[in-house]
């Protein structure tokens, strides 16, 4: 497995997309933190405010993670990969792990970078990390990004196509999860159990929901696990 992890690490970092995705994600999150801190008015600046760009960062990370697998299909390097290591599940797990670790690192750097930036600009006592909620909002972001990356790799593996996978990964959290609220009677319940909505309760304790923050993260991870298992099963079965 260490061999596979090393292989996937080389593959990931010898293309450009993870580099510019990282820069873009960090620029977006930290940039938004600075903007929010500079333009804030009415009440003290809080830890939550510093994480305003977290959603954008998550989107960039999921796109990066999806591209890590869809470009392999696009350029058929997935065939070279399976030729070198015919155990597809092992290969794809290694790739998922490497991408998830990168996502986690991006998440941590983005969150702490945003927090520090906002603090430097406008640091009051509300900017201290005191409660569990404060810590989850900042240190928890890496976990969310990592699980989000797993979902993206799974979706990318299932769809195999960059445009398709990216569309799904952007439209789902932005539109679908919100539009389900329009369904009469059950809409609100369904909305609450949508994965990206659920995980927002982990980093933002102000969002109400049926389960607690850690349970929400676990639920998000459960969805990722189900998608990943499906993706692995499909990849094992179909022609490369």
């Amino acid at each position: 497995m260490t061999t596979l992890l090393a292989t996937e690490r080389i593959k990931l970092f010898t293309t450009r997309s993870p580099w510019w995705s990282t820069l873009l994600a960090l620029g977006m999150t930290i940039g938004f933190a600075a903007l929010v801190a500079l333009n804030h008015s009415g009440g003290p600046l809080t830890v939550r405010h510093s994480q305003f760009g977290a959603q954008f960062g998550l989107m960039i990370v999921t796109v990066m993670a999806a591209l890590a697998i869809t470009t392999e299909y696009r350029f058929a390097t997935i065939r070279a990969t399976f030729q070198a290591v015919p155990h597809r599940t092992a290969v794809l797990l290694a790739k998922t792990a490497v991408v998830a670790v990168l996502a986690a690192v991006i998440g941590e750097v983005a969150a702490f970078g945003s927090w520090i930036t906002a603090r430097v600009i406008d640091g009051g006592p509300e900017m201290n990390l005191v409660t569990g909620g404060d810590w989850r909002a900042v240190a928890g972001l890496g976990l969310v990004y990592a699980v989000g990356a797993v979902i993206a790799v799974a979706v990318g593996t299932l769809i195999r196509q960059s445009a398709g996978a990216i569309s799904v990964l952007l439209i789902w959290p932005l539109l679908v999860e919100n539009l389900v609220q329009l369904i009469p009677r059950v809409g609100e319940d369904i909305h609450n159990w949508m994965p990206f909505t659920a995980v927002s309760r982990f980093t933002d304790s102000t969002v109400p929901g049926p389960i607690g923050p850690w349970a929400s993260l676990a639920y998000f991870a459960g969805v990722a696990a189900v998608l990943l298992v499906a993706a692995l099963a499909v990849a094992e079965k179909r022609d490369a």
Binding site: R16, R79, A80, T81, Q83, P86, R238, D239
Partner: protein
């Protein structure tokens, strides 16, 4: 050695490969011949475990590809030179392949040198010419120093120099005792590159054997004879030859099929017939190949079988014909 038994692949309604059985021996270059869409690439993908056979089985030295430990050390393949990330450098491409099979880093530079890409190793593969891409693909195939090599149409789109280079390369690999399986849709190319042939049409096996035998069977050989005593010669040939398949007038000459030129010359000499011309003519390889693998695959396959049965008697009758050629 590669062994396929009853290999079959359906894509929806398309039958790409149809109950295909063949073996590829080591120490020889085996050509895999078939027209476009015959199923060559599909077969090769199944050898590498990339596509799952609908039924049947293919093994490499007795093992399924999936069960090979670090398969790049056993099987090297170049199915498509484009299977490279365009933004990755040639060296990085080989580096990750090497890492996947725990092949030492030094080997990467070794194979780059072997194919003459050392100078551009740091350049992005997306900017490579077709010839350079092909060389990179060959470098990748050789990375694990494998004893079995697969190449899918490696000379496609190459200039004559590149074609010659690849041809020599194949010979060298086979001389080193490796199994070399190389596909093409050009019989003329395979006649120069390969010693053995596996010929398919529409996914079905048409022929397996040596190149010489195939060429001999596939091409219609005739002899052109010019003589002032043509009428007598024709009568004699008719009286003599049970083997004669064809006698046609060709201007002031006769075109005779099924008899070696030597036999005609001897017959003429024995009967004091003057010959002005005695000219063996070999039909076009490509023409014959198209006939064999074309629309009438089913029918031709049958015909070919019956020809094969007859081949033994034929050769006994004309020992001088190809003894030295087939011994190689």
């Amino acid at each position: 050695m590669i062994e396929a038994t009853g290999l079959t692949k359906h894509y929806g309604r398309t039958v790409a490969v149809d109950n295909l059985s063949f073996t590829v021996a080591e120490g020889r270059v085996t050509g895999f011949l078939g027209p476009n869409g015959a199923g060559k690439s599909t077969t090769m993908r199944m050898v590498l475990g990339l596509d799952r056979p609908t039924s049947g089985d293919v093994r490499i030295d007795g093992q399924h590809y999936h069960d090979l430990h670090q398969p790049l050390r056993t099987v090297g393949a170049l199915l498509d030179a484009k299977w490279v990330h365009p933004n990755r450098s040639a060296r990085d491409h080989l580096r990750w392949l090497a890492a996947a099979s725990k092949i030492p880093r030094a080997r990467v530079d070794e194979v780059l040198d072997l194919v003459g890409l050392t100078g551009v190793a740091g350049k992005r593969a997306g900017g490579f010419s077709l010839g350079m891409s092909q060389r990179l693909g060959i470098a990748a195939a050789l990375l694990g120093d494998p004893r079995v090599l697969l190449f899918d149409e490696p000379v496609n789109g190459l200039d004559p120099e590149g074609i010659l280079w690849i041809r020599k390369f194949m010979h060298r690999l086979a001389d080193e005792g490796r199994t070399v399986f190389v596909s093409s849709h050009l019989l003329s190319e395979m006649a120069l590159t390969a010693q053995d042939l596996v010929v398919i049409g529409r996914g079905k096996l048409i022929y397996q054997g040596t190149v010489e035998d195939f060429v001999e069977h596939a091409t219609e050989s005739t002899v052109l004879v010019r003589s002032p005593q043509l009428d007598r010669l024709r009568d004699l040939l008719r009286a003599e030859g049970s083997e004669i398949t064809e006698i046609t007038e060709d201007g002031d000459a006769l075109r005779i099929g099924g008899v070696a030129s030597a036999a005609i010359g001897e017959l003429a000499a024995a009967n004091n017939i003057v010959l002005h011309e005695l000219n063996p003519q070999v039909g076009s390889l490509e023409q014959a190949f198209i006939q064999l693998t074309g629309d009438t695959v089913e029918y031709r396959t049958e015909e070919h079988r019956s020809e094969e049965h007859g081949a033994g008697e034929h050769r006994a009758g004309e020992p001088a014909g190809n003894g030295e050629v087939t011994s190689g």
